[in-house]
Amino acid sequence: MAQITMKNIVKKYGDGFAAVNDVSLDVADGEFMILVGPSGCGKSTLLRMIVGLEDITSGDMMIGDERVNDKAPRDRDLAMVFQNYALYPHLSVFENIAFPLRLKKGVPQEEVKKKVEEAAATLELTEHLDRKPGNLSGGQRQRVAMGRAIVRDAKAFLFDEPLSNLDAKLRGQMRTEILRMQRRMGITTVYVTHDQTEAMTLGDRVALMKRGEFQQVGTPRELYEHPDNMFVAGFIGSPPMNFVPGTLSGSTLELPFVSVPLPEDMRRAVGDIDTVLVGIRPERFDDASVVDDSRRGTGVTFDAHVDVVEWLGNEQFAYIPYETAESMTDALDELERDLDSERLRSQLVVALDPGSDIRDGSSATIWFDPAAMHIFDPATGANLTGAASSRAGADAATVSSAEPAPTS
């Protein structure tokens, strides 16, 4: 096992395009690191440079204490999990796990047996070793494929969008299997995905990329609660954060639907910018009528016309249309492009308590706590108020075992 260290890694193609542009990252021994971002952000390219599939233009790639830039993939002792997923119907589960070892000539039979049995124990496959894979459930079959990676004794596991070719049913199941295996083995893991839910639920830390650069590296909770910029704020969380234009007059922030007195620390943090974009997560709102009195006083309320309500049983979402100021459309258009998503424009998404009886087309009083707002500079996208980097004592590089933040 080993740590993986990337120092000022650059990948430039012949045409000068930098797919990865000067990124540095330490993946600690035993850490589960996620590389996430929209398509084309450079996450897979970075993973391929770790594995040795892609030449590194400049920078140092270290595995343990060794610089591996010029090493062939097989000499890096890494295992790409699921790259070879096929199960062979006439070989026993034991042989299905063992055969990569058979390929390396000269591994003694006792060692093969020991390694396969250990892997099977980790994956709870011991009682199936003599069976044929045809008798296994979908999840168990995937575990056999993981077993193949385990017996290699790799220094780290690498996953490149491993769940993207599974159907939705297996996807959730496998996420749990991967997490369980990684926790049990404590093996350094780098995992690439474009799915923020996977990123949030699996990673010790998440490195969010855009156009070849890291936007923020931190625990899922840090990215969720303290996004450094609008891109991070918009990418993490589902449904995504609402962005509404705001105008400052004195210590009052004018939003399209309510005026909010700004707490002193926020007012100071914003400085002399007078038009801003304000981010509020849907789950930070609520139906004022179900907010208890002790909380009610800390927030503000506004009346709104509710267009549509979606009731999902354990939660419900209300959609509230509003007018976006002309001056903000450029910043929002750019964000849409970056996030590679069609966002819901000019409407607020509000998560309501499942007990709330607000209905389609009705008027409602909505509550939120101004402390839950993130205020962004529309010119740079920087989070002026709640960013991890702006908080004293925040250390984005700390490995944390924080519980994944709720995402839906």
Binding site: G52, P73, Y88, N165
Partner: protein
């Protein structure tokens, strides 16, 4: 979110257009759709074969993003004339993240299990042809900047081509295009292939109940594919130093490349160091179409490179014979036309008949020529057409002959209609449903 139906087909087959594209493939009614039972290996996605307007189509159900990606990669491969299944369409279904990829069924191709179940480990020559085919396919892909990512026997189909076998990529789910491949990408692809091939071969050996002692040899065979690949790759990329004016060395290298089937694109001789007499020879090759292009320009026949190699040889012998016979020089073009009408057309039909109309007439004629050569070599004199036809009809042919493989062939026209109950069997049987055919060449 559920997408709207988005149907994109590159063929205008009314029956194909009329399939129930809105429904998940697993729910298609076997009494309403002409499914065909074609043995395939286990797949991570549902694959069904459908007959529409007299043609066979392979339909694969997979997530929308992947289907779109595979469609694009296969289109790119078609543009580069690489050996991959031809994609006929992609259908985004109004079903939660499901899409269908439609490809042409590769006529007269074999799945490796079918082939290997009938060729025992001991018959190394034929197995060697299979591994050469895989190695050449991977070389072709890599030369064109394609990283496969999951090269395996199961993701490849095999087709006879003269005395060689041609491998075709049938699954491009993990494939990706790059301007060029790094050495790391090629190595990784080779490693994945070696592991996959070993798994596939061991699986067949287990199915054939071969003794465990055979396993070491099987693993060597899997490693041999990578060695074959490396030999070809090095040969193509070697830059030997030749003496200025050493026409023999230059000519022999070019001929060797042609013999492998590669057409030449550019030959470059660069001064090596200070010595102006030494030149570094760099050869850029185009596709593996040297003989097939020549044959097409002479006769209009469009055949595989392996077949063309044999036919061009036959044409050359005929040309010499004709000149001797007439006592004058005969232009190659004229000899080619006479060969086509007087030799190829009647003889290919005759060979096809003699072989029981298995496969196709061109391949039958190639087999005929090979068997005649092998029998004549054994006999020490030309055995003639009659004896060759008889040998072909009686299946009394030398073991080493590539034609022995033809006896595992099942004409696609006789594919049984699918039994609805079998559709639930995820691991469609690849084993022999009928009994094993007689061992070729021994009777």
């Amino acid at each position: 979110m559920v997408a709207a139906l988005d149907l994109r087909l590159r063929v205008t087959s009314p029956e194909l257009l009329g399939l129930p594209w809105r429904d998940p493939l697993s729910a298609w009614d076997p009494t309403a759709v002409s499914f065909r039972d074609i043995p395939v290996g286990p797949s991570r996605h549902l694959v069904r074969f459908v007959e529409a307007d007299g043609a066979l189509w392979a339909l694969k159900s997979l997530p929308q993003r992947l289907a779109q990606r595979e469609y694009d990669v296969l289109r790119q491969m078609e543009i580069r004339a690489l050996s991959a299944v031809r994609v006929a369409g992609v259908v985004i279904q109004p079903v939660e993240d499901e899409a269908l990829l439609v490809t042409h069924y590769l006529e007269r191709s074999w799945q490796y299990r079918r082939l290997l179940m009938r060729i025992p480990t001991a018959m190394g020559v034929h197995r060697g042809r299979l591994f050469d085919a895989m190695a050449l396919l991977l070389v072709d892909l890599h030369r064109n900047g394609i990283y496969w990512g999951d090269c395996s026997l199961a993701n490849t189909l095999f087709m006879r081509d003269g005395q060689t076998i041609q491998a075709w990529m049938v699954d491009a789910e993990t494939a990706a295009f790059h301007p060029t491949l790094s050495d790391g990408q090629r190595q990784m692809d080779l490693e994945i292939m070696t592991e996959n091939v070993a798994g596939g071969l061991l699986d067949v050996a287990a199915r054939r109940e071969e003794p465990p002692e055979a396993y070491d040899g099987i693993i060597d065979e899997a490693h041999s594919v990578a060695r074959r690949y490396t030999d070809i790759w090095s040969f193509l990329h070697d830059e030997p130093v030749v003496g200025y004016g050493d026409r023999r060395a230059i000519g022999s290298r070019l001929r060797d490349l042609n013999d492998l089937g590669f057409s030449l694109d550019e030959v470059r001789l660069e001064p090596e160091g200070d010595a102006s007499e030494s030149l570094r020879m760099k050869v850029a090759v185009a596709g593996r179409t040297f003989h097939s292009e020549r044959l097409r320009s002479l006769t209009g026949l469009s055949v595989g490179e392996g077949q063309a190699t044999i036919l061009m040889n036959d044409l050359r012998s005929y040309h010499s014979w004709l000149q001797r016979e007439q006592g004058v020089d005969v232009p190659e073009e004229r000899a080619a036309l006479r060969w086509l009408t007087d030799v190829f057309v009647p003889m290919s039909e005759r060979a096809f008949e003699a072989g029981g109309r298995v496969g196709d007439p061109t391949q039958a004629y190639c087999d005929f020529l090979e068997i005649r050569w092998l029998l004549s070599e054994q006999a020490g004199h030309d055995v003639g057409d009659e004896a060759t036809s008889q040998a072909l009809a009686d299946h009394v042919i030398p073991d080493d002959s590539a034609a022995t493989i033809s006896f595992v062939e099942t004409p696609t026209a006789e594919l049984p209609e699918v039994d609805a109950e079998l559709l639930d069997d995820s691991e469609t049987s690849a084993g022999p449903r009928a009994g094993r055919p007689p061992r070729p060449g021994r009777s």
